[in-house]
């Protein structure tokens, strides 16, 4: 009776999942495959959708080879990694510091809610506006930062700071860190609040100090959340577009050119080289999928390996005992 009922209703599982599947097939899978195919073509020009006639039959990998050998793509890839790495490290350290402060069981910090709201604020503001705002603040000769540094006596006269590759990159890194540390801190704090209090009590009874508790109890407990943050940040970082585009449009001298900006420029600026841009997209797509699955694999493997070790140990012990018993 029960079984029959479940069987009857089962079809609604498919019906209710159908819109999602259809939308995914049309708006996500189809573009993925389409982009992949375009990577093997010589398609150019906006509005041109006739790809079948321009497939590069003779050297199908031409676009991929061109992109991988391209100097500005390499530069863009290195830039993207530098900008992501240099923003992720201070971001996660600052977030961990805030987490340690806000979840300290011995001294509670008041107005945590207010601080969290403040820390998260830059994240919710349109990135395009943030980028334009910072471009305006760092403007030459009459920008806020220039005037401020002159008033403080650090500069004698206005300096065109955005001509310097490292300064510009530094500002982009600062913006990214500034936008994301609050988010990361909130995520980590909620992770720490989810740890069973008994663990901390046990650590206290054992006489662990604050640092020992943080490094031996707190950090290992939020390993999964840290990993999740790492992966999402990495994917976001490898897709970085809005800030470098509207801050200095990849400049100066391609110092803030990211891979997404490279793809955009290839496809929609000047040459309309859809083939090459698609190839570059697919290379980045593969890198992201590879990296994120690698990171997930590493974590899962560790736990499983430990579990397997434990099982083996117990099996050995069991066998040993059996033998002992037999003997």
């Amino acid at each position: 009776m029960k079984k029959k009922k479940a069987y009857d209703y089962a079809r609604f599982g498919y019906i209710f999942s159908l819109p999602f599947v259809l939308a995914w097939l049309i708006f996500q899978l189809y573009p993925i495959l389409y982009t992949l195919i375009l990577g093997f073509t010589d398609l150019r020009g906006a509005g041109n959708s006739d790809w079948a006639s321009v497939i590069l039959w003779k050297e199908p990998l031409k676009n991929f080879i061109t992109v991988l050998g391209n100097k500005s793509f390499k530069q863009a890839f290195i830039n993207t990694l530098i900008i992501w790495g240099c923003n992720f490290v201070p971001q996660i350290l600052l977030a961990l510091l805030i987490t340690a402060w806000f979840t300290n069981r011995r001294s509670t910090i008041k107005a945590q809610g207010f601080y969290k709201v403040m820390f998260y604020l830059p994240n919710i503001i349109t990135q395009a506006t943030v980028a334009m705002l910072f471009a305006q603040l760092f403007m030459y000769p009459k920008g806020v930062i220039n005037d401020l540094l002159i008033q403080l006596g650090i500069f004698a006269k206005p300096v065109e700071m955005m001509r310097n590759a490292n300064t510009t990159r530094g500002v982009v890194i600062f913006i990214q860190t500034w936008m994301w540390y609050g988010y990361t801190a909130i995520v980590l704090i909620s992770g720490v609040l989810g740890i069973s209090p008994e663990l901390f009590e046990a650590a206290e009874v054992d006489g662990a100090n604050q640092w020992q508790t943080f490094f031996r109890v707190t950090l290992p407990s939020i390993k999964t959340i840290l990993l999740f943050t790492l992966v999402t940040s990495l994917i976001g970082g490898l897709n970085m577009f809005d800030i470098p585009k509207l801050f200095q449009n990849g400049g100066p001298n391609n110092a803030t050119l990211t891979t997404s900006l490279y793809i955009y420029n290839k496809a929609f600026q000047g040459g309309y080289l859809y083939g090459e841009a698609s190839a570059a997209s697919m290379i980045m797509f593969a890198i992201i999928v590879l990296l994120s699955s690698l990171v997930f694999y590493l974590l899962r493997d560790k736990d499983e390996v430990e579990l397997r070790k434990l099982i083996k140990q117990q099996e050995k012990e069991y066998k040993r005992k059996m033998k002992m018993g037999k003997i």
Partner: protein, 294 residues
Amino acid sequence: MSNNSNLQLTVEGREKGKGGVVQKVIIYILCTFLSILSILPFWMMFVNATRSTPQIQQSAVSFIPSTHMFDNIKILSSKNMFKPMVGFFNSFIVAAGATCLAVYFSSLTAYAQVVYEWKLRNAFFSFIMAIMMLPGQLTLIGFLQMCYKFHLTNNLIMLILPSIAAPSMVFFMRQYLQPALPVEIVHSARIDGAREFYIFNKIVLPIMKPAIATQAIFSFVGSWNNLFTPMVLISSTKKYTMPMMVSLLRADIYKTEYGSIYAGLTLTILPLIVVYLLLSKYIVAGVALGSVKG
């Protein structure tokens, strides 16, 4: 030996008592500093939006608002390029449409996961987990080509429809629904003769309200702030969304109108700031919630 370590412990304990206050003061100072750092750029923007261009040229740094806000906005609109109302309207349509679709269909998909027992259920869930991390931005050229084929470039609908498939939202909704929905309610509704769609719309959706509210905020903000997709898809200035309008402020005709640029930037984020200050509690709670579940 044991005496020694005991002594150390007490010394450490005493130091902590004193150090605790100093540590606390340092924490408060640093947190306040970070808070100021969060608002300072926006405050600078707001102040300069109220100052005339000559005032800014004299000194770009000021913390006290002036009275030229409306003059700046007038100059901005006189150039007939940057139209915040158009951007606002388009962004609102896209963000609202995308959010409604994403929230409704994600809930529906999650409901199918939680309530029904079908053969492919677990396989489908693994599939959702797998596609959650796929970077959509990188397949935009294929997406654009598809839109060309169906003559749907310059159409806001193409910014709305893709949100029907939002894997991470389905994941969140499923995690929320699983403990929150007593299956007995569904059973008794069935006995009363309610149809499956009716049960979902009238009984399950209201139960999911808290989760829907949280996800709706993030979906809305994400859609509102999106720059890359509309920039690729839309070329007619009539269909420009807000972030695209912002990029128009880079145009040469505004180059020397410092006050107006700041005013334009202020207009683009004013609605966001107001909404954020009203809903900040829920938004911050939502960020925390999403992380625990995700």
